[in-house]
């Protein structure tokens, strides 16, 4: 016999739905609580882990990167504050601070030759040479982090790109767009002439002249007047990397 669906049946269904939904919420709530518990445990484990592997973290840049990413995944940024417990645990606060000081040292020492523009690779090589043998290896990522930590110093330290070349700029003034354009033109040859710029961008002579004068004034380029009619302008920051040269001692 078929049971008719009456008002009572509908009410019962509604009650079931409510009960299920309540149960669902309870379950979800419990899941979240569980998850939070897990995260707390994970954080604690991570702390233990970091404490235990502090030496490896300092010595192995790949491992350091992985730990950093792990920290970020569970919402801990060890670099957010120098007082952060993770920074202290990781010893990374000191590490990047020390690296930042070395970066400043190199940028200042080479500024009179390169006008405050140094290729990232070149900087990395110099950092590696400068550091005591057996101290932590440096990778590009470390340099980027260290430079981002220098921001509050307002020294203008930042990473800029000209074409495919990644450079570290250490002068506070903004690079004029014309200068950047011309530098990108010179990225492979390390040099350019007035004619190269004229042909490349169809600028008038005044614009080219003032762009070159500006870069000469700031020491970003050097002039080579071997050809007195068509002098060449060289970018020491590019040359340094191209020849593996170590301009300046």
């Amino acid at each position: 016999m078929r049971k008719a669906v009456g008002i009572g049946g509908l009410r019962r269904k509604e009650a079931d739905r409510l009960a299920l939904s309540k149960k669902g919420n309870e379950l979800a709530q419990r899941e979240i609580e569980k998850l939070q518990e897990h995260i707390t445990i994970m954080k604690a484990n991570l702390e233990d882990f970091v404490r235990e592997h502090q030496k490896e973290i300092r010595n192995d840049p790949m491992f350091r990167g992985q730990v950093q990413r792990m920290c970020q995944l569970i919402g801990v940024d060890p670099l957010v504050s120098r007082k952060g417990y993770m920074a202290e645990l990781l010893g990374v606060g000191d590490f990047y601070c020390e690296l930042g000081i070395q970066i400043i040292g190199i940028c200042v020492a080479t500024r009179s030759i390169n006008g405050g523009l140094i290729e990232l690779d070149d900087l990395q090589q110099r950092l590696i040479r400068r550091r005591i043998k057996g101290s932590e290896p440096i990778i590009e990522d470390d340099i980027k982090r260290a430079i981002s930590q220098l921001k509050p110093l307002k020294g203008g330290y930042r990473i800029v790109t000209f074409g495919n070349r990644k450079m570290v700029q250490s002068i506070s003034r903004e690079m004029n767009p014309d200068n950047s354009t011309v530098l990108a033109l010179a990225q492979y040859t390390c040099k350019f002439t007035v004619e190269d710029v004229r042909v490349g961008f169809e600028w008038d002579m005044n614009r080219i002249r003032s762009c070159i004068d500006d870069m000469l004034r700031s020491g970003i380029i050097w002039v080579d007047d071997y050809d007195a009619v068509q002098p060449e302008y060289w970018v020491p920051a590019f040359f340094s990397q191209m020849s593996g040269a170590n301009l300046g001692s």
Binding site: S112, G219, W222, V223, P236, S249
Partner: protein
């Protein structure tokens, strides 16, 4: 210079900046030029030390390997070199020689006369040579000094060094008939 292996390159090692073509052009930017000049000064002193050289005639020097990089076909101009030497003179690492105000020739002191003076005086002290008379020739070329760094030192630099000692009361010079005849007597510092 001593080498540890026969295969080792004993040629003077030029710094990398030597292969940077604009290094041979006087830079118009003042602070770049000061750095460039400093690097030229350092290069000259280490090159002169390495090759144990002392005198320089500017017009001839610019075709020497030091100022003429054949690989990149660049050479320093005489007037730029003159500015560099002017700086060395200011630092006490060079002095102009030859007719006054011509600034065409100079003596490079890769070690300052003051430093030579104390080396020579120390030698005299350690070897009990006080109150004895030496000729310049004996000092620079005699058997007693063969082992010394100042053996073979050019007469002008030696003269400068001994003048310093005389000024300090640690030596007395006796003028003879020729430069090589000049005699010198060392004293304990007075």
């Amino acid at each position: 210079m001593t080498t540890t292996a026969a295969s080792m390159d004993t040629e003077f090692q030029f710094p990398e900046i030597y292969n940077f073509p604009p290094f041979f052009t006087r830079q118009p930017n003042d602070s770049t030029w000061k750095e460039q000049r400093r690097m030229w000064c350092d290069l000259i002193l280490s090159y002169y030390k390495y090759n144990n050289l002392s005198s320089m005639t500017l017009a001839e020097a610019v075709s020497d390997p030091l100022f003429n990089n054949k690989q990149i076909h660049r050479s320093l101009r005489v007037d730029t070199l003159r500015e560099v030497v002017e700086e060395l003179v200011k630092q006490g690492n060079a002095c102009w020689t030859g007719p006054k105000n011509t600034r065409d020739a100079c003596l490079i002191f890769w070690r300052k006369p003051e430093a030579w003076a104390s080396i020579i005086h120390q030698w005299a002290s350690e070897n009990g040579m006080f109150n004895m008379v030496f000729t310049f020739f004996e000092l620079a070329n005699g058997d007693d000094t063969v082992e010394q760094e100042f053996h073979g030192l050019d007469p002008l630099t030696l003269r400068r060094a001994l003048d310093v000692l005389q000024g300090q009361g640690k030596a007395q010079l006796f003028v003879g008939t020729s430069d090589e005849d000049i005699g010198v007597k060392f004293f304990h510092s007075s």
